[in-house]
Amino acid sequence: MKKLLFIYLAFGLSVAVSQNKQLLYNWEVTPQTLMLNPGALVTNQFHAGIPLASQFHINVGSSGVSVFDIFADDGVDINTKISNTISRLSSRDFFTVNQQLDVLNFGWLSKGLEPMYFSGGMYQELDAIAYFPKDIAILAWEGNREYIGKAYDFNDISARADLLTVYHFGVNKQVSKKLTAGVRLKLYSSLISVSSTRNKGAFKTTVREGSANIYEHTVTDLDVEVRTSGFISLDGLEQSQVRKKLLGRALLGGNLGIGIDAGITYQFDNELSLTASVLDLGAIFHTKDTELYKAKGDYTLDGIELIFPELENGEPTIPYYDNLEDDITREIPVDTLNTGYTQLRPTKINAALHYDFGRFVGDNGGCNCKNNGTKQKRVSQAGVQYYSIFRPRGLQLAGTLYYTRRFGNTLSIKTTYTLDSYSAKNIGAGMFLNIAGVNLFLAADNLLQMSNLAKANSVSLQVGLNYILN
């Protein structure tokens, strides 16, 4: 059976595609529940994630467009579909990719006068977000001919991508019968980072009475910046050297950062409880291998003015074009800097209210004495969850209603309905299987779109394999 589990997991990993882990939050899956809330109620004595398989998570999402919108085999010209999509999307629409791979995850209950559950490990994360640069897309797709007088806003350019490893160690303690609290320290090691999120200025082509030429092309209050870290030292290296360098950075050789997770569980009574957590409250300090590109200034272009100078034989003409290029370079200089910078991590907040009901799981119906006096689980739990993440343009929010049903100690199923930036009809489900302490979980959302992923705005599927000793 265990062999079968491994084969099944490998298959699952190969097809798994899926930020908000609403299905894993406050569920049976100990390592991941603790990663989402360091103050979660822990009922086991030990856990060990199977290295590289304890959790794989990937989320691909787009808030305003699906693959189907563009690539539907419907006889409509793809360029028409792209035009329609550009018109429909706004600069607040975004595309995200978030992937995590647990390399190591372990935890143990430290018994004594003050029992505490310690947990630690290391995971790799890729996180990218790009807002739709609507104005720039219109300029590239259609040009300025039909948009005389329109200001193309450089603020529309906002994107960020980070590849990093995270080393973490947390402690979880039942403070009182009602309150469990936990905290996790994180050490980030950035492999590669690129971002351009604080841009401003506008480009406009206008017709103005009294202007020197037919149009005035103006760049106003331009201030754009691209920050990179970890790229320049990779330039010109062979693939094997790049791999070696990235591996070194993964092993704390990159730009380092520090962060903290914290969370609580508050048990009002036997049925009602509250959980809340804040994750990745921290920053990465990019001090080496950085390159920043900055362009700042104002300029008005109205073509080239000829002045018809009287030239002696052989005298060169006025270098109008070179002068124009020099003017633009002087007024809007592009600087390349190697200064360090600090980048905040995208902080996430989870909160939820849970209600347990139904009969108790198992036979004994009483107190689970290994569990420091906490009550035994009931077969059903329902609740409401809140999730938010700080992104370059502010908070992204999600709300979830969920129901969890336990079938003995072997199987637990969780279903969710989530309302978020991607969809108003996101139904998710997760299954957790426990076979002799070996725990396999699989969770996916947007199930209504599963039959045709092309129509989904986001897809989320998480799998993991852990050993848990109760």
Binding site: T410, A436, A444
Partner: protein, 183 residues
């Protein structure tokens, strides 16, 4: 071990994984994506005083004045590949009591003519400046020739002049570039 539960788990997860697919899509359409931006851009402008057409030092007419500017952006191979057409638009406002012949000769780096545009400008007066327009649309073949040029020689010819001649010949111009960018 509860075999029924395990079977249920595998059945449900198999359904989840196996039914997932990309239906009714054709990703080969990506090869048909073509960007066709139309760019409006100022070209050149000038204000030629009537006095430019008379040599006061030698008391002689100056019937031809000319000037040249590089247009480096035209001659690049990148623009050559994607430029499918262009409309050149010239607006003359003449308050000089003479008509003019004006030519725009697009030259290679070696001063070989690649494309010549010529027009006439109607005479006007200071009280009543006359506006003349000249539009030249170039198709893909013509634009291929023009993009071999690196500069433009502008020649303004006046049929006759005198020291009493007054007024200004003003030119404003723009180009609409039709680009086609594909894979």
């Amino acid at each position: 071990m509860d075999l029924k539960t395990a079977k249920l788990f595998f059945l449900l997860t198999s359904m989840l994984l196996c039914v997932s697919c990309f239906d009714g899509t054709d990703f080969d359409q990506a090869n048909e994506v073509v960007l066709t931006p139309e760019i409006e851009l100022d070209l050149i402008y000038f204000n030629l005083e009537a006095s430019n057409f008379y040599d006061y030092a030698n008391n002689t007419e100056v019937l031809v004045v000319e000037d040249t500017t590089d247009l480096d952006f035209l001659g690049g191979s990148d623009i050559n590949d994607i430029l499918k057409g262009a409309d050149f638009f010239f607006k003359f406002t003449n308050s000089i009591a003479r008509g003019f012949n004006v030519s725009f000769d697009f030259l290679s780096q070696d001063n070989v003519s690649k494309y010549l545009m010529q027009t006439t400008v109607a005479p006007g007066s200071e009280d009543n400046p006359v506006v003349s327009y000249f539009v030249q649309s170039l198709d893909e073949l013509q634009i291929k020739e023009l993009t071999k040029a690196k500069k433009v020689l502008v020649t303004v010819t006046i049929p006759s002049s005198s020291q009493d001649l007054t007024g200004v010949l003003n030119l404003q111009s723009k180009t609409t570039y039709y680009l086609q960018i594909e894979q």
